[in-house]
């Protein structure tokens, strides 16, 4: 490699770093902020187990928690429901939130099945509907879900495991990651509820 090529190479790397820095520090966060503002918004109509419709306007009745799962789920979904129970115990104000468990497996998770499933945690509403409307909702929330066949007609679902937080006006505010530290999660809820 000649001296000229080397110099060119070094300047090239410097330029790359400047662009990368700009991307990481400025451009990417702005794009994320824009996308975040739209989370949960879109045209979808599903049914909640309390008899109400679940649409984007459901998010602007009160501060809300929305998470996705399915009843054939051995670990993540029961854990998340259990976590919500412990958050409610620690933070009584959280009981006034609207909490929605949206199934990513509407074929098997009918309203009747979901109602009992979520029923052991106060205030949690199951949400289900047609495959098509569910797909629209998944897209609106930016949630990934995919069927994984296990053979003999059985299947499981890969799915996003975070709990989405929305303020009382239906704007996406934050997400609680799966198995988030308890104090951190309660802190996020306090921030949302302004307590």
């Amino acid at each position: 490699m000649s001296g000229r090529t080397l110099r060119l190479a070094i300047w090239g790397l410097v330029a790359v770093n400047v662009v990368a820095l700009a991307w990481v520090m400025v451009i990417s966060p702005r794009m994320t902020a824009n996308a975040a503002g739209k989370i949960g918004h879109g045209e979808y109509t599903l049914a909640a187990t309390d008899g109400t419709a679940f649409t984007e306007t459901s998010l602007s009745q009160a501060p809300s928690l929305v998470f996705f799962g399915f009843t054939h789920c051995p670990d993540v979904c029961p854990t998340t429901l259990g976590d919500i129970l412990t958050w409610q115990e620690a933070l009584p104000e959280a009981r006034d939130m609207n909490i929605y468990f949206v199934t990513v497996d509407p074929t098997r998770d009918t309203g009747d099945i979901l109602k009992d499933y979520v029923g052991w945690v106060d205030g949690v509403r199951g949400v289900t509907g047609s495959e098509e409307e569910t797909q629209k909702a998944l897209e609106a929330f930016g949630v990934y879900a995919a069927r994984v066949d296990l053979g003999d007609g059985d299947y499981t679902m890969d799915h996003s495991a975070s709990v989405f937080l929305f303020d009382k006006d239906g704007n996406y505010s934050d997400r609680i990651r799966y198995q988030e530290d308890f104090d951190t999660a309660v802190g996020q809820l306090k921030a949302l509820l302004g307590t």
Binding site: P74, D75, G82, D83, Y117
Partner: protein
Amino acid sequence: MNVFSLFAVATALIVGASFASAGDVQHGNKHDAHDETAMDHVQHGDLVLTGAYVRATLPNQPVAGAFLTIENTGTEDEMLVGVSADFAGRGEVHEMKMVDDTMQMRKLDAGLVIPAGETVTLEPGGYHLMFMKLDQAMVEGETVNATLEFENTGPVTTSFNVEGKVAKRGEHDHGS
């Protein structure tokens, strides 16, 4: 090498590095303590099974995850190839993992290796026994029996305590 290909290489390196660091964050969060129930202690050949429990099911939950610790005190690797139980139409050895924000669950078709001289823990967020087509609810406080099938040592039936719906965590888990 022209500037464009340098850009490509540098970008690839940067992207690779960010993915690697994102992965580290994920791994740091798996900390579901389960250390208080060193109850049943089953010796099966060179294998020692401890702390077997199954997660209580929610209403209408037709599947259940079960967990235990398997120590291989022998000099040969062992393989957990299957699991079955009277209460479940189907039992399998699964691996769960979080990839970014997504929970993925896969059957371990070849089985789970229990290396010679090592201990493998099946725990929430990782390896688990998956019971499907449940005939009965898993009720907290009860015990159920299941049979583990090992490639060399053969089958062993052991009891599993049914434990609470709310995941057990360290009381003072601060995300360490």
